[in-house]
Amino acid sequence: MLSELRDEEPAAGLEFRYQLNIEDAYTLKDCGAVVFADATAEGGDEPALVEIGPAAGIAFTSHEMSPASVLALCHELFGRAPRAYLLAVRGYDWEMGEGLSERARANLARATKVLRRFLKERA
């Protein structure tokens, strides 16, 4: 998704994260809007942008930090948090080394279209 959109929207800050962590609050502090895109094992096949806000709940481990927690930390540390959206891409096959299933690949293509439209509207 990122490699596809990077060339099309060079002005957008498109970044990959293995996992979110506390320093991402610093990354977000000057953003106008942010989209968190990730795979999900739940929900339907049609990806949509869902607006989210800061939430103080925090996981027990730094291995897991939710987008809402990063937004909350950003707000508390820097006095503001950007508008934020979640873009969940439904996946089906989570075994090691299998790559994307056909349905997940189709969902990823749909999600890329959704994100492309969002970026063009904000450009």
Binding site: N21, I22, Y26, A56, I58, F60, H63, L77
Partner: protein, 482 residues
Amino acid sequence: MARKITIEPVTRVEGHGKVTIHLDDAGKVTQTRFHIVEFRGFEKFIQGHPYWEVPVLVQRLCGICPVSHHLAAAKAMDVIAGVGPADLTPTAEKMRRLMHYGQIFQSHALHFFHLASPDLLFGADADPAIRNIIGVALKHRDLAVKGVLMRKFGQEIIKATAGKKIHGTGAIPGGINKNLSPEERDAFLKAPDPLNADTMVAWAQFAVDFFKDFHKKNTALVDGFAAFPSNHLSLIRKDGALDFYHGALRAVDADGKKVLDDADYQDYLEHIGEDVRSWSYMKFPYLRSLGKADGWYRVGPLARLNTCDFIPTPLAQKEFEIYKAYTAGKPNAMSLHTHWARLIELLHAGEVVRDLLNDKDLQGTDLVRKGRKAYEGVGLVEAPRGTLFHHYRINADDQIEMANLIVSTTHNNEPMNRAVNWVAMNVLEGRKEITEGMLNRVEIAIRAYDPCLSCATHALGRMPLSVELVDARGGLIDKKER
């Protein structure tokens, strides 16, 4: 009535575990266990892969300390590639050191500010809703900003040396695949405040001073909580200096007597045994010379400052002298002093990063050496949480045939179990009501060791920790999960 307490998940530790506390009918503690309840078998997954892929593959064990696995594996593959530690080019060794000390810096900052400081700032009995980094941000914004930016600085060092902040590719068998350009160097040395090397050292000193002040105000808690004697193990530089990247093995007993010294880690199997117990997937390592019952030991910041003779940077050495004077030079057995030791190491890592950035060898172009291939190799580093062992054997087709990993959290298995037992005996025993604050003290004891259960079990996915309270007949009385 007899009871059993379960804490699941233990919060603000890296991974997934379970604590069970068994009480008899009189409320006396009869058994405590810190269980690791997941298994992943990473050593099996990598069998059949060519050896040069291992430094990149194996770091997928963890998203917090991948650099440790990357470098321990690379050091083992150096041996297999026929390149000894002294044979690496200066650029290769110093780039690896910069990567590693950058990682120590970010990991120690993350642990202290994100995981540990809420307990210190708000107390064990505070509302769990504020006992986290966002609570710290609300009440102590300046401290939280420092924590976030120190973590970011360390991650940027890793990116500059390994190519990526998480799961980079910098170290390869026999060397490194890039140097540090003058532009990359200047981004750390000349960046406007606060994200430059000098400010990071100053902030690390601030963190040490913060803890010393907390200690002064809370001496009984910091000195008494989960304090128990043990042996201690770490890598040590040949001259006795603290060294996170390379050295020989040294172990001291509770009185400071060296029970293992200047031991080549290629021969670690002669010195370290691994016991197994039916109730945990995590092994229990021990010093063979002392046997299974008495040979268990601590690793990590507390152990490292107990085994080393000095710290080879001035600010950290000054703090080390204060720290050592507190126990009159004897090994420190106080679990919460691990935070103090960790912050002195944070300061040392900051100083080393700053000094390395000023070393022109990092702009060298001689990156890789080759030698005569061997079929077996061991690589060790001092990871943020303690000594990390990687041992591999390959076949004639260069494929991994055998792998054995002993991670820091595994070394600390017995000490963490002892720490849980201490809390059960000293905080929970005989109490009619088990409060959330009491259970948090169990977690505080575990958290001091900064365990990474994902590394220890090589597990993936959601990794909570629970505490269970069980009666004398095995019935579950209470269970806390987060």
